[in-house]
């Protein structure tokens, strides 16, 4: 199987096919070799990072830290995080005796595929970033996703837990394993009450009383406690504090850390990576040096220009209200007048279903802001989007319906001011990018 996997990978490279997934597809799906990974002799460190969001960025940063610390790391840097990609990657990195050839196997794992990739006694370190509603037609409900993740835990697995997520934090009492918790302290964007009740976890897992929140970061993520004293976030082992987006800095347990993106989720993936590295026994100085030495500022989205106005393309994942929340929060935190482009032609690229329920879980009310000049609604579900926006209190003359996408840029130029932010899903990002490039070429 190892030879076959390499052979197919080679053929894929030759013909420029998807070499990160196709070999695994052939072995796992066509040949039905579902247990092919059970025979692999894994290295000392097998780290799996899973959760609804943030797992890819966390994995990238852990790789950076471990590599700086001198480990030979093999990880799925292409972001292919399903079982087929895992089969391809793992078999391509074994010798012919089935022995894994690197010190560390580090995998970002799809929440539902984790149990297909690993049986028990394989993962040495499991980090769970968060569990929130995300693509329900594919994933079902958050509880189901979480229970699936737990299937790979055995008594030896070290658990790295986001304590700010009360569902994920149940792992703290469900398992007697060695564990490390992390979290983010109150920031300037924290709030006391959810405007839209779209949270995925609100009641104490022990006594079923409604939990009290000291603050929310987003969704059900924040600092909570049971009023009967049965359950609480408590003080995480590694807590991010003093978050300052403008200065690109925060602290972990009092030590200054560089933040390469001015968004909350960057704080989360940095403190998560820190906790994972600590769980392997790496010294604080080594971790901090690795994070702080990499001063490359990662942009929140692709930045272009339209008639001299800055245009930032923020991809927002449909069927994930918190992905939209992060985009909205980012826009809110930028200075000056702003124009927004919002909409989609398809809800998903994985399936043809177009469930529109999630539009009502997104806190679009935050866009009712004097600095938002106009919101342009595009795509074939623009009327559904406008209907939702009509409940936000935003003045109707700020909302512009764009029936023909070809007119979008002209309308934006003529009818709006300020920096432009696209808050759209994958399909529209490509369309708008092409429109802007065509517009630039016309001027040349």
């Amino acid at each position: 199987m190892i030879l076959l996997n390499r052979l197919i990978t080679g053929v894929c490279k030759l013909f420029k096919r998807n070499g990160s997934v196709y070999p695994g597809y052939f072995i796992y799906d066509i040949l039905k070799q579902h247990k092919v990974l059970e025979e692999v002799k894994y290295p000392k460190y097998v780290i799996a990072i899973s959760g609804s969001s943030g797992k890819g960025s966390t994995t990238d940063l852990v790789n950076h830290i471990l590599t700086d610390a001198g480990y030979d790391v093999c990880y799925n840097k292409s972001g292919s995080n399903g079982v087929l990609a895992a089969v391809t990657l793992i078999l391509n990195n074994c010798n012919l005796k089935g022995e894994f050839k690197h010190d560390v196997l580090l995998l970002e794992c799809d929440e539902r595929h984790l149990k297909l990739i690993f049986g028990k006694n394989k993962i040495t370190h499991l980090a769970v970033t968060n569990i929130t509603r995300d693509q329900p037609p594919r994933n079902g409900e958050p509880d189901v996703v979480f229970k699936d993740i737990l299937k790979v835990v055995d008594e030896k697995t070290k658990l790295i837990i986001n304590a700010d997520d009360p569902l994920v934090n149940t792992m703290s009492f469900l398992f007697n394993n060695e564990k490390i918790t992390y979290g983010v302290g109150k920031t300037k964007d924290s709030y006391l009450k959810n405007r839209i009740e779209a949270t995925d976890y609100a009641y104490c897992p022990i006594c079923k009383s409604k939990m009290v929140y000291e603050y929310y970061h987003y969704g059900h993520i924040g600092s909570y406690y049971c009023k009967n004293g049965d359950y609480k976030r408590g003080n995480p082992d590694y807590e991010a504090t003093d978050v300052d987006f403008e200065k690109h800095s925060f602290k972990i347990n009092g030590q200054s850390i560089y933040l390469n993106k001015d968004v909350l989720y960057a704080v989360y993936y940095t403190v998560a990576a820190y906790a994972i590295a600590k769980s392997m026994g790496i010294e604080d100085e080594v971790i901090i040096k690795a994070i702080n030495d990499d001063k490359t500022l990662a942009k929140r989205g692709k930045v272009l220009s339209l008639d001299g106005r800055k245009l930032t393309m923020l991809e927002s994942k449909n069927e994930n209200n918190l992905s939209y929340y992060q985009s909205i929060r980012y826009i809110k935190n930028q200075k000056g007048k702003k124009t927004i482009i919002l909409g989609f032609d398809n809800v998903s690229r994985r399936y043809k279903f177009n469930d529109l329920s999630w539009l009502w879980d997104v806190d679009f009310e935050l866009l009712n802001d004097k600095n938002i000049d106009k919101i342009f609604c595009i795509g074939r579900f623009r009327y559904d989007v406008v209907t939702r926006l009509s409940f936000t209190g935003i003045e109707t003359d700020k909302i512009v319906l764009v029936d023909d996408l070809n007119n979008l840029l002209q309308l934006v130029k003529e009818e709006s001011v300020g920096d432009i932010y696209t808050m759209v899903c994958f399909d529209m990002t490509a369309n708008i990018y092409k429109l802007i490039k065509d517009d630039e070429n016309e001027k040349v």
């Binding site: 037609p137 409900e141 009740e197 079923k208 409604k210 279903f353 879980d361 074939r380 009327y383 009509s390």
Partner: protein, 239 residues
Amino acid sequence: MKKFKIAHLYYDLMNLYGENGNVRYLKRKLEEQGIETEVYFLSIEDKIDFEKYDFYYIGMGSTDNQELVLNHLIKYKDDIVTAINQNKFFLVTGNAVDLFGLSITKASGKKLKAVGAFTYEVIEEDFRIVGPQYYKADLIKHNILGFQNRNSILINANEAMFSVIDGTGFKPKDNNEGVHYNNFYGTYLIGPLLVRNPYLCDYFVNEICTYLKLKYKKTSDKGFAYRAYHEYIKNFYTK
């Protein structure tokens, strides 16, 4: 004029699919009729007075949350039956329908006694029913749009509110869906059903006007929800 009281029950547990849209849209449409409307949010730590409210709404929750809610709701069995017989309004969407039958048989085999307002029974399955739905309704001339994402089937239903044009009924290969008795309306369709089906919301508003002994006023400004409804049908169900 008497205030119309909507109770959004278990808003923090049965809230998987943007259900807040239903009560927000209904409130707006009632206020367009000049009906003063208030929404009350109640959950498992509250006492529910089934004499106090005119309209009860419950949305879809995870299977764990559904069981938590059932333990609370079942205490009100007699009050609920009385309220239904007094023509109070109930709209229950997604797996909230399961709560009102005789029983829910869990995937583990455990059988939970449900509220028992109706004689149907629900069985949790190891598969999920997921996808868009397109139904014909006897209540209104416009067809119904929606989406399902559930892991239970419903058996022994008496009469159905909808017939399936495209999608799934109470169970696979069943052309019937939806429970309707007096002013009780239950459907496996999830999420903001009334927003996606503004004509169905008009039907409810009309029925509520009758309940309040008011004359229903047709409005000329239809709003974008109607455009969204017709666009969806044009894009997905018009050959």
